[in-house]
């Protein structure tokens, strides 16, 4: 992915909410890793479902896309898909750059 793919434009009026949003995503990443290690597909499905709903609402479409992959992967019990999605999510959160407009 290019650097521009990690740039997210967020409405200025959400600036106060975004730090909490990002902190919760990092906590979420740890929970996803733990759930995958335990092969807890139900928790993975719920977490993916939540990511799918909240990401786009804040303007983070990539979070929603990865959430859908995790939800679908958990639903079918596809560990490889889940593994790849969680690695992508970790990379995305490490590199994402928020721009307020």
């Amino acid at each position: 992915m290019t650097d521009s793919a990690y740039t997210v434009v967020v409405a200025k009026d959400l600036a106060d909410l975004v730090p909490t949003f990002m902190n919760n995503r990092k906590k979420e990443l740890e929970t996803l890793r733990t759930a995958l290690a335990a092969l807890d597909f139900e928790q993975l499905r719920q977490l993916g479902h939540r990511m799918k709903g909240v990401g786009n609402s804040y303007g983070f479409s990539r979070v929603s896309d990865l959430g859908k992959s995790i939800e679908d992967g958990a639903h079918s019990g596809d560990r490889a898909v889940l593994d790849a999605a969680i690695v992508d999510y970790a990379e995305y959160l490490a590199r994402v750059n928020v721009v307020y407009e």
Binding site: A11, L14, L17, F21, R50, G53, V54, N56, S57
Partner: protein, 381 residues
Amino acid sequence: MSDLAAVQHEIGAQSEFRVLVADDDQDMANFLAHMLRKEGMEADVAAEGGAALERVMASPPDLVMLDVLMPGLSGFEVCRRLKADPSTALIPVVLITALDDSESRVRGIEAGADDFLSKPVSREELLARVKTLRRLHETRRELEQRRLATEIERKETIHKAFSRYISPGLAERIIHDLGAEDGPFQANAQRIEVVALFADLRGFTRITERSEAGNVVEMLNEYFAFLTEATYQRHGTIFNMAGDSLLIGFNVPLPQKDAPARALQCAQEMVLRFAPIGRQWERRFGVATGVGIGICMGEAIIGNIGSPHYMSYTIIGNPVNTAARLMQLAAANEVLVCGEFFQAIRDLVPEQDVRARGDVALRGRSEPTPVFCVAGPGSEV
């Protein structure tokens, strides 16, 4: 401020629109609350269904937004409970579901949801839906307040009309019970135990012969003012006012456990209150005057009697007839009562204040009636 004025004030007031957002996803709840506050609404947040329900009950908002999947009570269940409770059924509920979750929408409709919002939430869609529901809710609330104002106005009119015949306190209770199946003024006549009190003015016919018509009306009004005041103080019901006589009932239309005591006190008050006026009239017209009272208790028929064009709520039966006969026998400032009534109040009257008149043959009664004369405060038997 009267009830009506309070409602009218409420109609005029523009209160802040309050929204309760319930979502276990903190970021989603914060996002929704933030958007609503930006639009000048007040937004409160609950993290799960049970807490949302408690907050609605404690302080009902104008709109509830519920995520369908929450720990504890789901959004569907909270919605269903809100719609099943008459006190919260009118609050609009928006369920927040996934865009592709048509099954949740069907369940939401079954639970009574007013609208749906899809995740991810678009701010334009959120505000458009909330604004529409706000308009609908405000229109519905205004209509409800106008209906309430009309209802209060109607009750105040009835109250004013009733208060001419019964005590204001009794009128209040009757209006409160209007529509109740066992309320007063039922269409069908009833047989109930009543205390009937008849009062009239001794010597008034002779006074009218010596007075101008205008003076007579003025005097009657003065006399009835004293009698009705005494009646209302004891929560009696005035059934009839004809010439200078008054028929009053106790234990009707609503039960009064102490009806005999109320009737006795009412009679004593009438004698006591009218005495100074009677003395004044005696000096003015040279005619001895005073109130004569008859009281009896027993079973009577209560009902609306008359024709479709003219109807009167009244009591008929033996206690009423006997009270009328006793009133005719009573001298000025005298209270004559039947035996049954005397038994009911004998503990309330000192022995020296009672004089047995023996069994008296009253017109219209086949058996002689035991009659007692009861003194009022300040009078003698």
